[in-house]
Protein backbone atom coordinates (compact mmCIF):
# COMPACT_ATOMS: atom_id res chain seq x y z
CA UNK A 1 0.00 0.00 0.00
CA UNK A 2 2.75 2.45 0.98
CA UNK A 3 4.77 1.43 -2.07
CA UNK A 4 1.82 2.06 -4.39
CA UNK A 5 1.18 5.45 -2.76
CA UNK A 6 4.84 6.39 -3.06
CA UNK A 7 5.05 5.30 -6.69
CA UNK A 8 1.91 7.20 -7.70
CA UNK A 9 2.95 10.48 -6.13
CA UNK A 10 6.62 10.16 -7.07
CA UNK A 11 5.50 9.65 -10.68
CA UNK A 12 3.24 12.72 -10.49
CA UNK A 13 6.10 14.75 -9.01
CA UNK A 14 8.60 13.70 -11.68
CA UNK A 15 6.15 14.22 -14.57
CA UNK A 16 5.19 17.67 -13.28
CA UNK A 17 8.86 18.57 -12.77
CA UNK A 18 9.66 17.55 -16.35
CA UNK A 19 6.70 19.67 -17.41
CA UNK A 20 8.14 22.67 -15.51
CA UNK A 21 11.32 22.41 -17.56
CA UNK A 22 9.76 21.58 -20.93
CA UNK A 23 6.82 24.01 -21.10
CA UNK A 24 7.55 27.25 -22.93
CA UNK A 25 4.85 29.34 -21.28
CA UNK A 26 5.62 30.48 -17.69
CA UNK A 27 2.02 29.95 -16.53
CA UNK A 28 2.16 26.26 -17.52
CA UNK A 29 5.44 25.91 -15.63
CA UNK A 30 3.90 27.53 -12.55
CA UNK A 31 0.86 25.22 -12.57
CA UNK A 32 3.13 22.17 -12.97
CA UNK A 33 5.27 23.38 -10.07
CA UNK A 34 2.15 23.49 -7.88
CA UNK A 35 1.61 19.83 -8.86
CA UNK A 36 5.15 18.97 -7.74
CA UNK A 37 4.63 20.71 -4.41
CA UNK A 38 1.27 19.03 -3.77
CA UNK A 39 2.61 15.54 -4.39
CA UNK A 40 5.66 16.30 -2.24
CA UNK A 41 3.25 17.23 0.58
CA UNK A 42 1.72 13.73 0.33
CA UNK A 43 5.20 12.19 0.49
CA UNK A 44 5.94 14.27 3.60
CA UNK A 45 2.81 12.79 5.20
CA UNK A 46 4.15 9.32 4.35
CA UNK A 47 7.37 10.24 6.15
CA UNK A 48 5.46 11.34 9.25
CA UNK A 49 6.02 15.08 8.75
CA UNK A 50 2.46 16.31 9.19
CA UNK A 51 3.34 19.88 10.14
CA UNK A 52 5.77 20.23 7.25
CA UNK A 53 3.15 18.81 4.86
CA UNK A 54 0.63 21.42 5.98
CA UNK A 55 3.24 24.19 5.78
CA UNK A 56 4.23 22.97 2.31
CA UNK A 57 0.67 23.34 1.04
CA UNK A 58 0.03 26.66 2.77
CA UNK A 59 3.38 28.43 2.27
CA UNK A 60 4.71 26.95 -0.99
CA UNK A 61 1.66 25.93 -2.99
CA UNK A 62 -0.43 28.71 -1.47
CA UNK A 63 1.59 31.83 -0.87
CA UNK A 64 4.75 31.58 -2.98
CA UNK A 65 3.12 30.20 -6.12
CA UNK A 66 0.29 32.73 -5.94
CA UNK A 67 3.01 35.40 -5.87
CA UNK A 68 4.61 33.83 -8.96
CA UNK A 69 1.31 33.63 -10.83
CA UNK A 70 0.53 37.26 -9.89
CA UNK A 71 3.85 38.45 -11.29
CA UNK A 72 3.46 36.39 -14.48
CA UNK A 73 0.00 37.89 -15.02
CA UNK A 74 1.19 41.39 -14.14
CA UNK A 75 4.11 41.30 -16.56
CA UNK A 76 1.96 39.58 -19.21
CA UNK A 77 4.81 37.13 -19.83
CA UNK A 78 4.38 35.25 -23.07
CA UNK A 79 5.96 32.25 -24.72
CA UNK A 80 9.71 32.50 -24.42
CA UNK A 81 11.78 33.30 -27.46
CA UNK A 82 13.91 30.48 -28.82
CA UNK A 83 17.55 31.37 -29.22
CA UNK A 84 20.46 29.43 -30.54
CA UNK A 85 22.33 28.01 -27.59
CA UNK A 86 26.06 27.68 -27.42
CA UNK A 87 27.62 24.55 -28.84
CA UNK A 88 28.94 23.36 -25.48
CA UNK A 89 25.49 23.48 -23.88
CA UNK A 90 23.88 21.53 -26.71
CA UNK A 91 26.62 18.93 -26.68
CA UNK A 92 27.33 18.50 -22.96
CA UNK A 93 24.24 19.67 -21.05
CA UNK A 94 22.05 16.58 -20.98
CA UNK A 95 24.91 14.00 -20.69
CA UNK A 96 26.40 15.92 -17.75
CA UNK A 97 23.01 15.99 -16.00
CA UNK A 98 22.53 12.26 -16.54
CA UNK A 99 26.05 11.65 -15.22
CA UNK A 100 25.27 13.74 -12.12
CA UNK A 101 22.04 11.81 -11.57
CA UNK A 102 23.76 8.46 -12.03
CA UNK A 103 26.51 9.44 -9.58
CA UNK A 104 24.01 10.49 -6.91
CA UNK A 105 21.90 7.34 -7.38
CA UNK A 106 25.04 5.19 -7.16
CA UNK A 107 26.15 6.89 -3.94
CA UNK A 108 22.66 6.53 -2.43
CA UNK A 109 22.44 2.85 -3.35
CA UNK A 110 25.92 2.28 -1.93
CA UNK A 111 25.22 4.07 1.34
CA UNK A 112 21.80 2.52 1.95
CA UNK A 113 21.72 -0.85 0.19
CA UNK A 114 19.27 -2.50 2.60
CA UNK A 115 18.82 0.46 4.89
CA UNK A 116 15.79 1.73 6.72
CA UNK A 117 12.43 1.26 5.06
CA UNK A 118 9.64 3.79 5.31
CA UNK A 119 6.11 2.89 6.30
CA UNK A 120 3.23 5.13 7.28
CA UNK A 121 3.28 5.80 11.02
CA UNK A 122 6.93 4.82 11.42
CA UNK A 123 7.87 8.24 12.78
CA UNK A 124 5.50 10.14 15.05
CA UNK A 125 7.78 12.97 16.16
CA UNK A 126 6.73 15.37 13.40
CA UNK A 127 3.64 16.81 15.09
CA UNK A 128 3.13 20.54 15.52
CA UNK A 129 3.74 20.11 19.24
CA UNK A 130 7.17 18.52 18.80
CA UNK A 131 8.21 21.07 16.19
CA UNK A 132 7.01 23.97 18.32
CA UNK A 133 8.92 22.69 21.33
CA UNK A 134 12.15 22.33 19.34
CA UNK A 135 11.59 25.69 17.65
CA UNK A 136 11.24 27.62 20.90
CA UNK A 137 13.97 25.86 22.87
CA UNK A 138 16.86 24.52 20.79
CA UNK A 139 16.31 26.70 17.73
CA UNK A 140 15.18 29.90 19.43
CA UNK A 141 18.05 32.07 18.17
CA UNK A 142 17.77 30.95 14.50
CA UNK A 143 14.01 31.49 14.75
CA UNK A 144 14.42 35.08 15.91
CA UNK A 145 17.07 35.76 13.25
CA UNK A 146 14.67 34.35 10.65
CA UNK A 147 11.97 36.77 11.79
CA UNK A 148 14.41 39.67 11.28
CA UNK A 149 15.24 38.26 7.83
CA UNK A 150 11.57 38.20 6.88
CA UNK A 151 11.16 41.78 8.12
CA UNK A 152 14.10 42.89 5.96
CA UNK A 153 12.61 41.01 2.99
CA UNK A 154 9.27 42.79 3.43
CA UNK A 155 10.99 46.18 3.57
CA UNK A 156 13.11 45.31 0.54
CA UNK A 157 10.10 44.21 -1.49
CA UNK A 158 8.23 47.41 -0.59
CA UNK A 159 11.21 49.63 -1.47
CA UNK A 160 11.81 47.82 -4.77
CA UNK A 161 8.14 47.70 -5.72
CA UNK A 162 7.09 51.28 -5.00
CA UNK A 163 6.70 53.97 -7.61
CA UNK A 164 9.62 56.32 -8.06
CA UNK A 165 9.06 59.55 -6.12
CA UNK A 166 11.47 62.35 -6.82
Amino acid sequence: MDVILFLIFALIAVVCAINVVVQTHPISSAISLIGVMGSLAILYLLLGAEFIAAAQVIVYAGAIMVLFVFVIMLLNAGVEVKRGRSFMVQLLGVPLLIAFLGLVAWIVERLYPEGTTVHFGGFTGGSAQAIGRALFTTYLLPFEITSILVLIAILGAVVLGRKEMD
Binding site: D2, V3, F6, A10, A13, V14, A17, I18, V20, V21, P26, L33, V36, M37, Y44, L47, A49, I52, A55, Q56, Y60, A63, I64, L67, F68, V71, L75, A77, E80, V81, R83, V89, L97, F100, L101, V104, V108, Y112, E114, G115, T116, T117, V118, H119, F123, G125, G126, I131, A134, L135, T138, L149, V150, I152, A153, I154, G156, A157, L160, G161
Partner: protein, 102 residues
Protein backbone atom coordinates in the same frame (compact mmCIF):
# COMPACT_ATOMS: atom_id res chain seq x y z
CA UNK B 1 6.79 -5.60 0.77
CA UNK B 2 4.58 -2.79 1.89
CA UNK B 3 7.54 -0.67 2.97
CA UNK B 4 9.38 1.82 0.80
CA UNK B 5 13.20 1.71 0.84
CA UNK B 6 14.68 4.99 2.01
CA UNK B 7 16.93 5.13 -1.06
CA UNK B 8 13.87 5.62 -3.26
CA UNK B 9 13.08 8.88 -1.51
CA UNK B 10 16.68 10.05 -1.87
CA UNK B 11 16.74 9.09 -5.56
CA UNK B 12 13.46 10.94 -6.17
CA UNK B 13 15.00 13.97 -4.50
CA UNK B 14 18.07 13.69 -6.76
CA UNK B 15 15.84 13.44 -9.85
CA UNK B 16 13.91 16.57 -8.86
CA UNK B 17 17.17 18.42 -8.13
CA UNK B 18 18.61 17.43 -11.52
CA UNK B 19 15.45 18.66 -13.25
CA UNK B 20 15.78 21.92 -11.34
CA UNK B 21 19.36 22.28 -12.58
CA UNK B 22 18.19 21.56 -16.13
CA UNK B 23 15.54 24.28 -15.91
CA UNK B 24 18.02 26.71 -14.37
CA UNK B 25 20.59 26.16 -17.13
CA UNK B 26 18.44 25.67 -20.23
CA UNK B 27 15.55 28.08 -19.81
CA UNK B 28 15.73 31.69 -20.98
CA UNK B 29 12.79 33.22 -19.13
CA UNK B 30 13.88 34.78 -15.83
CA UNK B 31 10.67 33.76 -14.04
CA UNK B 32 11.05 30.12 -15.12
CA UNK B 33 14.66 30.18 -13.95
CA UNK B 34 13.39 31.42 -10.59
CA UNK B 35 10.82 28.61 -10.45
CA UNK B 36 13.59 26.08 -11.13
CA UNK B 37 15.38 27.37 -8.03
CA UNK B 38 12.20 26.74 -6.03
CA UNK B 39 12.13 23.20 -7.46
CA UNK B 40 15.70 22.59 -6.27
CA UNK B 41 14.82 23.90 -2.79
CA UNK B 42 11.88 21.48 -2.67
CA UNK B 43 14.15 18.57 -3.60
CA UNK B 44 16.53 19.44 -0.77
CA UNK B 45 13.58 19.70 1.63
CA UNK B 46 12.58 16.15 0.74
CA UNK B 47 16.10 14.97 1.60
CA UNK B 48 15.96 16.73 4.98
CA UNK B 49 12.63 15.12 5.88
CA UNK B 50 13.82 11.69 4.70
CA UNK B 51 16.93 11.81 6.87
CA UNK B 52 14.79 13.07 9.74
CA UNK B 53 12.76 9.85 9.37
CA UNK B 54 15.87 7.71 9.22
CA UNK B 55 17.45 9.25 12.32
CA UNK B 56 14.07 9.45 14.13
CA UNK B 57 14.76 13.07 15.04
CA UNK B 58 12.75 16.23 14.48
CA UNK B 59 15.73 18.42 13.54
CA UNK B 60 15.34 17.85 9.79
CA UNK B 61 11.82 19.22 9.96
CA UNK B 62 13.14 22.38 11.58
CA UNK B 63 15.65 22.85 8.79
CA UNK B 64 12.88 22.36 6.23
CA UNK B 65 10.87 25.00 8.06
CA UNK B 66 13.76 27.48 7.88
CA UNK B 67 14.31 26.70 4.19
CA UNK B 68 10.63 27.48 3.57
CA UNK B 69 10.91 30.83 5.35
CA UNK B 70 14.04 31.77 3.42
CA UNK B 71 12.37 30.68 0.16
CA UNK B 72 9.39 32.91 0.90
CA UNK B 73 11.66 35.89 1.59
CA UNK B 74 13.69 35.11 -1.52
CA UNK B 75 10.56 34.90 -3.67
CA UNK B 76 9.27 38.24 -2.40
CA UNK B 77 12.54 40.11 -2.98
CA UNK B 78 13.39 38.29 -6.22
CA UNK B 79 10.04 38.95 -7.82
CA UNK B 80 10.24 42.61 -6.77
CA UNK B 81 13.64 42.79 -8.47
CA UNK B 82 12.19 41.13 -11.60
CA UNK B 83 9.37 43.71 -11.60
CA UNK B 84 11.87 46.58 -11.36
CA UNK B 85 14.07 45.14 -14.12
CA UNK B 86 11.06 44.64 -16.37
CA UNK B 87 9.95 48.21 -15.72
CA UNK B 88 13.33 49.51 -16.87
CA UNK B 89 14.16 47.06 -19.67
CA UNK B 90 10.80 45.72 -20.95
CA UNK B 91 12.25 42.22 -21.29
CA UNK B 92 12.27 38.96 -19.35
CA UNK B 93 14.89 37.19 -21.45
CA UNK B 94 18.05 36.62 -19.45
CA UNK B 95 20.18 36.89 -22.58
CA UNK B 96 19.16 40.55 -22.81
CA UNK B 97 19.92 41.26 -19.14
CA UNK B 98 23.69 41.22 -19.55
CA UNK B 99 24.80 44.69 -18.47
CA UNK B 100 26.77 43.22 -15.55
CA UNK B 101 28.69 41.04 -18.01
CA UNK B 102 30.51 43.79 -19.91
Amino acid sequence: MSQVPISWFLTLSAVLFALGIAGFLFRRNVITVFMSIELMLNAVNLTFVTFSYKLQQVNGHLFTFFVMVVAAAEAAVGLAIILTVFKNRQTLNIDDLNSMKD
